[in-house]
Structure formats: C-alpha cells, structure tokens
C-alpha cells in the first residue's frame, strides 16, 4: 500500500505515552501511535483490551491520565467531543451514538444543524444533503425522513458511517464498524473506508476480523490488557504473528 508515501507526510495524529486509569484500574498504559493522512491503521486486541477506551481518548470523551495528543503538530488538550470535531476528527462509536427517535437527517446534523437567516432549522438543506450523501455512499435507507429506530442494524450503521465521512476532514475513528453487518454490507463499508484514503483522511479502525484487518490496513497495532504489544506493517507480517501478539501465546 502507500505506507511509503504517507510516511513522508506529517502525521495527522500523534499519541505519545498515553495512559488512562479508571479509579484504580489501568485501562491503557504507555500507548504511542502515529496516524498519517491517507493511512489506515488497524487496532486489534481481545475484548476488554482497551480499544474503545483509546478511541474515546482521541475523540475527547475521556481525558487521558497522562500523555500527549498531537494533531497536525499542535498539542491539544481535549476536554470534550466538540473539540475533537473542531479538529476534523469524526468517530463511529461501537454503540453508534444515534438518537433513535429522531430522523435520519436530524442525526446526520446532530449538534451542527444549519439554520436559515431567521435562526430557524434549515430542514430543506439537511434533507437534501442527507439524500445526496446517502446516495453517494449507497446506504439503502427508506428516506431521509425515516426514524432511526425503524431502521435495521445495518442501516443504522450506514447512517453513523455516512455522518462521520460527511464531516471528517482529517481523521476517522471506527469502532467495530462491521460487527453487526452482513456480507454485502461489510463489503460496502470496506469500500467506503478505502475511499477515505483517496480523500487523504487518516483512519483508525478497530476490528475483530483479521481478514478485514489484512485487507484494509497499512499498519496493525496490537493491544493486550491495556498494553501496547507492538505495531507491524501489514505487508510485512502475517496472521499467525498478529494472533500470537493478541493472545500472548506463541503459535507454531
């Protein structure tokens, strides 16, 4: 892949010695990682390894106990999700973070609703932009007016991904974006993730599917019980090595 190209660029995201504790429990320790524009980095590890926690630290939901986050050469202290969004970072959370009883278009613009000159919601614009986007990404939903809870799991996932890709300018964090999806839908999401590369957006994707990880990623970062076990270039490793790193057992 184009790891050599992006390596020349400045990283869009730089994590250094990130540590996070919840009360007495250490969820993440000594975590360092760079993500370059147009690069896809996979984050793998068993359940409870700390992957979602790491995503939430980058997106500003949690403040790290120690360590620094640098976005495009600027060290940032993010105390809430708005700030991450201000830096062009978008997230697809594991639970999707959709408001179930609201429409697709309201969710697409949640927190960023456009208004007309009277200060009233510009629904026409939200609906039009949602429809364009949904068509572009081939997310098959009944309409922009549909209520989220009337959608299937895959359709909801589609809405969350469409929202993130619409707003992201630098970095997208995806927490198990295909966990609930069928074969065709998974392929669709993978296609969307690859298209982000062309937009020169950095991607950090969590996945339990090693097939997917090897298909999509430029580099693979392994977490085990909050510890960073290592980072490998996808082209220079294989599944056995990654499995050994995830489980801590040598495979022969």
């Amino acid at each position: 892949m184009n790891a050599n190209v992006s390596a020349a660029n400045e990283p869009v995201l730089k994590l250094k010695d990130i540590r996070k504790t919840f009360g007495g429990v250490t969820a993440i320790e000594n975590f360092s990682l760079d993500v370059h524009p147009g690069e896809i980095v996979a984050l793998v590890g068993d359940n409870g390894a700390g992957k979602s926690t790491l995503i939430k630290i980058i997106s500003g939901v949690y403040t790290p106990t120690s360590g620094t986050i640098t976005i495009e050469n600027q060290t940032v202290a993010m105390s809430n999700a708005t700030m991450a969004r201000g830096h062009g970072i978008e997230v697809v959370y594991q639970d999707l973070a959709l408001a179930d009883q609201q429409t697709v278009y309201m969710n697409m613009f949640l927190g960023r609703e456009p208004v007309n000159r009277f200060g009233l919601l510009d629904r026409r614009r939200m609906i039009a932009e949602t429809e364009t986007l949904v068509k572009e990404l081939d997310v098959r939903i009944p309409s922009a007016h549909a209520t989220i809870r009337d959608l299937s799991g895959g359709q909801r996932q589609g809405v969350a991904i469409a929202r993130a890709t619409h707003w992201a300018s630098k970095l997208i964090l995806l927490d198990e974006p295909t966990a609930a999806l069928g074969v065709a839908e998974t392929a669709k999401v993978e296609e969307i993730v690859e298209s982000l590369k062309r937009r020169n957006i950095g991607v950090l994707i969590i996945s339990h599917s090693l097939d997917q990880v090897f298909k999509l990623s430029d580099r693979i970062c392994v977490l085990r019980r909050g510890k960073q076990i290592g980072i490998r270039e996808t082209a220079k490793t294989d599944k056995n090595e990654i499995i050994a790193m995830i489980t801590g057992l040598q495979q022969h």
């Binding site: 997230v91 999707l96 009883q101 609201q102 309201m106 009233l120 299937s152 069928g182 669709k188």
Partner: protein, 325 residues
C-alpha cells in the same frame, strides 16, 4: 446499508398503526369527550359560547405549564415542583404589585419561578441528581414556603392594570388569558420544532450520550428546560393572580396531575426524545373540558375526581401503549 426490502416489507403496517393512534389519540379523545358532553349536556349549557370560552380561560395556566413540561419531559427529565411554583410566584407578584406596581409584580412573579427553576436545574444538571427526586423535594419545599410567606392568608391584588393584563382584560375583543395561551403556544411550538435548541432538547432526552458526543452541552440543556418550566409556572401564577384578583398558597395545588396528564395524553413521551406542544394544548383543553362537563353533569366533587382519574388513566394507557415498543 442493508437491502431496501427488509424495511419495506416489515415496517409499514406498524408504522401506520403508530402514526394513526399515537399522534391522533389526543384529537380523537378530545372529539369523543366533546361530543359526549355536547349530547348529554345539551340542555345544561355546555355548548354555550360563554361556557366554552370559560373552559378556555380556566385552562390557560395549565396550558402554559404544560408547554414548559413538554420541554422538560422531551429532555428526559420531569418537573414536579411546578405544583408549588405557581403559588409562590402568585404570592410574590401579589405582594410586590400592591406596593411597587405592575413591573415589579411581574418581575417578582416570573423571577420567583425562574429562581426555583434555577435551583432545580443546577441540582439536576450540575450536581447530577435525578430530576424526579430534586423536584419532588422542591415541590414540598416551596409548598411550605408559599404557606409561610403570608401565614396562609390570601393576598388581594388591587392593581387593575395587572388584573387586566393577566386576567379579566381583553385586547381586540379577545380575552387576555386567551392571548397568553396563543402567544405561549406559538412561541413554544416554534422554539420546540424549529430551532437548534429544540432539536438539542429532543436529542438529549433521546440519547444523552449521543447528544454529548455530538457537541451538545447536555447539562446546559437540562438547566435550560428546568428554567423554562419554572418561568412558565411563574407566568401561570401571574395568570391565576390576575384572574382571581388574589393570590393564595392553594393556587396550582391540584394542577400537577392535570398538567402531566395533558402532556402525556398530548403525545409527549415520558422518557424523552419525542413530544408536541400543540398536542399538549389539546390535551389540556381536554382536561379543562372534562372538569367543566363533570361539574355540569352534577357529579359530586369526589365522584368528579374518581371519573377524572379513570379517564386520565385510560387516556394515558392508550397513548403510552402505542408508544412503547
């Protein structure tokens, strides 16, 4: 991104059901009760213009409070304290208006409501206590305050501008209480449906975590809805004081149940995320009509309470059953 037919085949039937019953149950109920009284009470003066406009006038404070509660409940909270805010505000207004004039009376009345809203709001949004417990406590607290404010005495309101403005007056031939209702419903509806604030209130009640990661300040929304509710309960207090030309600690005492019923029957979800201001208006008119009709039917006070309770129970059951899934 699943195939389109999965939603096309399964959903429509239930969608149609929900739309029909859930959103129109209040209008249907309103019509049924109206027709029932119109037929049963046709010789008792139910249908006279005077009686119908009386219902509207008596309903005004409940409607105003219901608007506030739609915001609160849509944000996933509850405000029980409105039951005693009304009396505190009415008394505060009555005491000041007699000595310091109209402006001071209005400021004192609305201000008292906003202060109670502020107290609720800070405790709920920033101390992070559940609104049910906070407002249950402030309901009791301010019931006590309203009693001690004037030693259980009733305070007459003598300022005729005040009583005209909030009670018996009229403008362009329309009674002022109806103006207040129309203006409050119109403003409430536009803010609720057409502004970012309204959208953020709904998102907060629907999924506060999603709202928060979307950059919505959830605590600020919680504070705001409780402030709105307190302020509107204060306005309701002014309307009572204006119409009755007096304020007493008992004002609004029995309104809490009526307001909650009006809002829920009107189509607002108890758990937040969905609601309607117009529905709440129709819901409270329905409650007012019910009160009025049962009195005209000559039911004793205790029978009125029982029948009213049963009808509210039935209405709430129908509207909630349709909404829960």
């Amino acid at each position: 991104m699943s195939s389109a037919h999965s939603s096309a085949s399964g959903q429509p039937a239930s969608l149609v059901n929900r739309l029909n019953l859930q959103q129109y149950v209040v209008y249907l109920g309103f019509l049924v009760i109206f027709l029932f009284f119109a037929i049963v009470l046709k010789d008792s003066g139910f249908l006279t213009v005077r009686n119908l406009s009386n219902i509207m006038l008596q309903t005004a404070p409940v409607t105003i409070m219901a608007i506030g509660l739609v915001f609160v409940m849509s944000a996933g909270e509850i405000d029980l304290s409105i039951g005693s805010t009304v009396a505190v505000s009415a008394l505060a207004a009555a005491v000041t208006v007699n000595d310091y004039g109209l402006g001071a009376g209005i400021i004192a009345g609305i201000g008292a409501g906003l202060l109670i809203g502020l107290l609720n709001g800070v405790l709920v949004a920033y101390v992070k206590l559940p609104s049910f417990l906070v407002t249950l406590a402030t309901l009791g607290l301010f019931a006590g305050v309203s009693r001690s404010m004037t030693n259980l005495r009733s305070i007459p309101v003598t300022d005729s501008t005040f009583t005209g403005f909030f009670g018996s007056g009229s403008f362009l031939g329309v009674p002022s209480l109806i103006w207040w209702t129309v203006v409050a419903v119109a403003c409430g509806h536009v803010i609720y449906r057409e502004t970012r604030f309204g959208a953020h209130v709904l998102a907060t009640g629907d999924n506060s975590r999603a709202a928060s990661v979307s950059g919505i300040s959830v605590p600020r929304i919680r504070l705001a809805v409780l402030l709105i509710s307190g302020g509107l309960a204060g306005l309701a207090g002014l309307l009572y004081a204006g119409r009755l030309q007096a304020a007493k600690y008992t004002l609004g005492e029995t309104d809490l149940m009526t307001v909650i019923a009006a809002v829920i029957v009107g189509g607002t979800l108890l758990n937040g995320g969905k609601g309607t201001i117009i529905g709440a208006l129709v819901g409270s008119l329905m409650m007012g009509m019910l009160n009025n009709g049962l009195i005209l039917m000559g039911l004793s006070v205790s029978d009125q309470m029982i029948v009213r309770g049963l009808i509210i129970l039935a209405a709430v059951a129908v509207s909630l059953r349709e909404k829960s899934r």
